[in-house]
C-alpha cells in the first residue's frame, strides 16, 4: 500500500467508511499480530491485543495527525498493548538488571507458562528470547523488537522513530551488544554456534 493510498483510506475511515477501515485492518493485521505474538508468546493474548489495537485506533482515528505512517502508529499501539499485557500477567518476576551505564533498573517481566504442544526445549528457548528482550532498557528493547522481531528495514525504523538512518544503525549495534550481554546469562545461548565462520551474515528482508 502506498502512503497516499493509506492516507486516503484513513480519511475515508475517519469519515465513517467501514470498508476503508477493513482494508486498513487487512493490510496491517499480520504486522500487528506478529509483534503481539512475539512479545507475549501466546496466540490468544496476541489475538486480544491485536483486536484491542485496531479498535483503539478506530476510536481515535480523528486524532491521527498523519505525521508518521498509519502502520507505524498501529505498530506502536500494538507494542505498547503487548508490553502492558506482559506487566499485568500474573506470576510476574522481579529482576534487577544493569544497563549500559551501569545503572540498576528494576524490571518486571511476565513468567509465562510454556505451551504443552511445543517441545520443552524449544519453548524454553523462546521464553528465554522473550525474557531477554523484555529485560532490555526501553529504548534498546523497542529498536530490537522492530528489527529482530518485526523485520523492519532501517528506513522504516528511521521513519517510525523520527530519526536518521545512521542513528538507527548505531543504536542497533549498541542494542545488540546489550542484548548479547543479557543472553550470555542464559545457558541456552551459551552453546557454541554450529557455524564458526562468518559468511555473508543473516540477511534481513
Amino acid at each position: 500500500m502506498t502512503p497516499d493510498e493509506e492516507i486516503r483510506l484513513v480519511k475515508a475511515a475517519a469519515n465513517g467508511s467501514e470498508s476503508a477501515f477493513e482494508a486498513l485492518v487487512t493490510e496491517n493485521q499480520k504486522l500487528v499480530y506478529n509483534v503481539a505474538l512475539k512479545l507475549t508468546g501466546d496466540p490468544e493474548d496476541a489475538l486480544d491485543v491485536s483486536q484491542e489495537t485496531f479498535l483503539k485506533a478506530y476510536r481515535n482515528l480523528s486524532s491521527f495527525r498523519f505525521e508518521s505512517r498509519f502502520s507505524a502508529w498501529l505498530y506502536r499501539l500494538a507494542y505498547n498493548a503487548s508490553m502492558d499485557l506482559l506487566k499485568k500477567k500474573r506470576g510476574t518476576v522481579s529482576l534487577t538488571a544493569e544497563d549500559e551505564e551501569g545503572e540498576e533498573r528494576e524490571l518486571t517481566i511476565a513468567d509465562t507458562a510454556p505451551t504443552p504442544e511445543e517441545s520443552l526445549e524449544r519453548e524454553e528457548t523462546r521464553r528465554a528470547v522473550r525474557e531477554a528482550v523484555a529485560r532490555l532498557p526501553e529504548d534498546k528493547r523497542e529498536i530490537i523488537v522492530m528489527r529482530e522481531f518485526s523485520g523492519m528495514s532501517y528506513s522504516d525504523i528511521a521513519d517510525a522513530l523520527g530519526i536518521e538512518e545512521g542513528t538507527v544503525k548505531s543504536r542497533i549495534s549498541r542494542a545488540r551488544a546489550a542484548l548479547a550481554e543479557i543472553l550470555s546469562e542464559y545457558g541456552t545461548f551459551a552453546r557454541p554456534s554450529s557455524s564458526k565462520e562468518t559468511k555473508g551474515g543473516k540477511k534481513h528482508a
Binding site: P43, L47, V129, F149, S170, S173, S195, K202
Partner: protein, 274 residues
C-alpha cells in the same frame, strides 16, 4: 590495539548481512582470537534462530475487529449529517441529464419574493427551490409539500411548479459564498425531531432535497433533464445534498458515476454535520 568496541559495529553489520569481503575477513580474524566477540556472535545467532517465523493471523482477528467497529458505530449518537456531492462542470452548459438513482435540485439562488423575508429572519434565509421538470411531479409530490416551511422560519412564497430560465431575474444570492463548507455546522439551525424541510439554509448549504423522500425523490427525478444553477464558490461548481445519506461508500459510487459523464469534470463527496 583492536578494541572490541570497534568490532561491535562490524558484528552488527554481519547480522544485517552487509559485510564486505574485506570486512568479513577482518571479523573472522578477530573472533578467532577473541572469546568475548565469539561468544557475542554465537549467542546472538542462536537468539535470531530462536525468533519464531511470522504467523498468519487467525480469521477471527478481522471479523472480531469489524464487529467491534459496527458496535462502536451503532452506539454513536445519531447525529444529523448531510452528505453533499460537489462537482465541477466541464462546460458552461447548465443542462444536465441525470442518471438513475440521483436526485438533483436547483439550488443557490433566491427569488425576488424571498429577499424581504430574509430581512425579517435574522437566523436563516429561505430559498425556494424547485425542479425544472415538467408539470408532473407524481402523486406523492404536491406543490403544497414543496411550499411547506418549518414553524420558525419566515414564510416562503407561493411555489411555482416549473421554473423556466426567463422568469428568473438573474440575481444570484451569493451570501453562501462567504461560508465555508462544514466549518460552521449551522449554529443558526436548531436540530429538531422533525427533519429539515426544503427551503432552509443550514450552515451555508442550501437545502435542496425534500425531507424523508430522498429515496422516492431519486426515482421521481431520475432520467430527466435539469437546469442546474451554480451553488458552490466557483461559477461551474454545483452542490447536491442528500439528507440522511450518511453512507460514504454510496456517495463515492455516485461520484464515480458522475465523473463518467462528459459534462462533469470532477465529483467529490463531503460531509456536513448539523
Amino acid at each position: 590495539m583492536p578494541n572490541c568496541e570497534d568490532f561491535r559495529e562490524l558484528i552488527s553489520k554481519y547480522f544485517d548481512g552487509e559485510l564486505s569481503a574485506d570486512e568479513t575477513a577482518e571479523l573472522n580474524e578477530h573472533i578467532a582470537g577473541c572469546e568475548d566477540c565469539s561468544r557475542f556472535m554465537s549467542a546472538y545467532s542462536l537468539f535470531l534462530d530462536s525468533v519464531p517465523e511470522d504467523a498468519e493471523p487467525p480469521a477471527e482477528l478481522l471479523s472480531g475487529v469489524m464487529s467491534g467497529v459496527r458496535a462502536i458505530n451503532a452506539k454513536k449518537k445519531k447525529r444529523r449529517r448531510a452528505l453533499i456531492i460537489r462537482w465541477t462542470a466541464a462546460a458552461a452548459s447548465f443542462a444536465l441529464v441525470i442518471f438513475a438513482g440521483l436526485s438533483l435540485f436547483r439550488g443557490g439562488y433566491k427569488s425576488a419574493d424571498t429577499k424581504s423575508a430574509e430581512a425579517e429572519s435574522a437566523t436563516s434565509s429561505n430559498h425556494y427551490l424547485a425542479p425544472t421538470a415538467p408539470d408532473d411531479y407524481g402523486a406523492d409530490f404536491s406543490d403544497a409539500d414543496l411550499a411547506e416551511a418549518p414553524m420558525d422560519m419566515a414564510p416562503v412564497p407561493e411555489p411555482e411548479p416549473a421554473f423556466p430560465a426567463d422568469s428568473f431575474d438573474g440575481a444570484i444570492d451569493d451570501t453562501y459564498k462567504n461560508e465555508t463548507m462544514g466549518a460552521d455546522p449551522g449554529e443558526a439551525y436548531e436540530p429538531e425531531a422533525e427533519p429539515v424541510t426544503e427551503g432552509e439554509t443550514v450552515g451555508g448549504l442550501h437545502v435542496t432535497y425534500v425531507d424523508g423522500m430522498c429515496a422516492e425523490a431519486t426515482e421521481l427525478f431520475a432520467d430527466r433533464e435539469w437546469e442546474i444553477e451554480p451553488s458552490g464558490d466557483e461559477a461551474n461548481e454545483f452542490w447536491v445534498l442528500f439528507h440522511y445519506l450518511i453512507d460514504w461508500e454510496k456517495a463515492l459510487a455516485i461520484c464515480e458515476e458522475l465523473e463518467e459523464s462528459p459534462a462533469i469534470e470532477s465529483a467529490e463527496p463531503m460531509i456536513a454535520e448539523y
